[in-house]
């Protein structure tokens, strides 16, 4: 615990974080690329076609990881915001600011791939399926946080406002999720979820898990890169940043 707290305090120093993240990014990025490449090969070439959906099932290897990670993004953004709020830690706000657009992009990706997957499965690009609807509301929540942060001229003020919204949102996310699911079961007509009901074969599960892992590592690398930028923006008048720019 003590060692962790020491690490935590060191990390809260922006220049320390900046240097650490610079070194850490390749350690996430390379495994992410390799894992995704392997998973893509296994998933797209080696794994069999689905007996119902044929080749279209392969979009799952993008859709599922982005849908999972979009939820993860919102939660971690809220946690970072809470840390930033409680301990007045600027770095945590920078992390939250870095996650928000990445999370919005993933949510958007999940929606688009869901729609593409929907066309051959349901015969239409959009149905008000529980998962898609939840993702859509999640996208609204992400966009709200991004827009609110940008609406303030003062960065610190925008950070704190976005933090409140993220924390309020994360309390609501499970309620929204369950209410949408419940609403959907009431009106279940066209939306038969296919991948969820039929058990998934190991030849598909393996590449899917690898892809999830690859996506996660890539996301971490991306967040670290974006956080570095946010740190530079927030600290632009500090001496260490100016020295960095000049060198």
């Amino acid at each position: 615990m003590n060692a962790f707290m020491t690490w935590f305090y060191q990390m809260s120093s922006p220049p320390h974080f900046y240097r650490w993240a610079g070194r850490a990014i390749p350690w996430f990025m390379w495994p992410a690329l390799i894992l995704s490449a392997v998973a893509a090969y296994l998933g797209l070439v080696r794994s069999p076609e689905d007996y119902q959906m044929g080749h279209t099932v392969r979009i799952m290897y993008v859709h599922v990881p982005s849908a999972w990670l979009s939820m993860w993004c919102y939660t971690s953004m809220a946690v970072a915001s809470a840390i930033g709020w409680i301990w007045r830690m600027k770095l945590a706000h920078a992390v939250a600011a870095a996650i928000a657009p990445a999370g919005a992009a993933l949510t958007f990706l999940a929606l688009v791939t869901g729609a593409i997957w929907g066309k051959p499965t349901w015969g239409t690009y959009w149905v008000w399926d529980a998962r898609l609807t939840s993702e859509l509301v999640l996208l609204f929540l992400f966009m709200g946080v991004v827009l609110l942060r940008n609406a303030f001229e003062d960065r610190a003020q925008g950070d704190r406002a976005a933090a409140i919204l993220a924390i309020v949102g994360v309390v609501n996310v499970p309620i929204i999720h369950y209410s949408v699911n419940w609403w959907n079961t009431l009106h279940q007509s066209a939306s038969v979820s296919v991948a969820g009901k039929s058990g998934i074969d190991s030849s598909m599960l393996m590449p899917l898990l690898l892809m999830v892992l690859g996506f996660t590592l890539y996301l971490v690398a991306l967040i670290l890169m974006r956080t570095r930028n946010e740190v530079l923006l927030r600290e632009s008048r500090k001496r260490w940043v100016q020295e960095l720019v000049q060198s």
Binding site: A156, S236, R237
Partner: protein, 220 residues
């Protein structure tokens, strides 16, 4: 108006509340409002002066705890004992650029509300106070019909009625005529005579006993 004639103020003396600041640093965008600003208030009156945009209002808000600085601390003490944020709030009456008068309420209702945030007070007390300060002709008017100078006077009277040891006044002299300026000075002297403390921002030094005034100049 003599000092003793301000009967709107409490009869007893105020506790000795003072403020100090160490290493305040605040930025607005890329503009540095103050960097490493430190001071200790030893006298009853702190006069903050500086050119437009030098951060007078912001400093006042920082001292009240409305604005958070990037670095540094503001410490309020009561006879050397450090006050908590909650304790400070009960001791301090703020009058900002905006007068905090609701346009749809009458002057009396506005005073009832504004001073009521600090203590319980009766209608009679408000009537008496407005009479004493020659504002009784305004009490039943809606705040939206007042002139800028009248609004200022009502807002300052609210601080007087709240019976707290610290007044924080942002530009109290703005929009006031010569008689108004004199009235404000008399209020300040009466407050100080009761052991109160005043923090004000103004371009000119208040015309009161200079031994009671500490000046803090801000440069942009």
């Amino acid at each position: 108006m003599s000092i003793d004639s301000v009967s709107t103020l409490p009869q007893n003396t105020y506790p000795n509340v003072r403020v100090s600041a160490t290493g305040l640093e605040l930025w607005r965008g890329d503009r540095c409002l103050f960097n490493d600003l430190s001071f200790t208030l030893n006298l009853p009156v702190l006069h903050v002066c500086g050119a437009n945009g030098s951060g007078k209002t912001t400093l006042l808000k920082v001292l009240c705890g409305l604005t958070i600085t990037e670095r540094g601390n503001v410490t309020w003490t009561h006879d050397k004992r450090i006050l908590t944020t909650g304790e400070v709030r009960g001791q301090l009456a703020y009058t900002g650029h905006q007068e905090a008068l609701n346009p749809a309420l009458t002057v009396a209702e506005n005073l009832q509300w504004g001073a009521g945030l600090y203590r319980e007070l009766s209608n009679d007390e408000i009537q008496q106070a407005t009479e004493e300060h020659q504002l009784d002709s305004l009490t039943s008017l809606l705040a939206c019909s007042l002139s800028a100078g009248q609004k200022r006077r009502v807002a300052l009277l609210r601080s007087v009625l709240s019976h707290v040891p610290v007044w924080v006044w942002d530009e109290p002299y703005a929009n006031l005529d010569a008689a108004g300026v004199e009235w404000v000075n008399a209020l300040i002297e009466a407050h100080v005579a009761r052991g109160g403390c005043l923090i004000l921002s103004a371009h000119q030094k208040p015309a009161i006993n200079p031994e009671q005034v500490q000046t803090l100049g801000l440069t942009s």
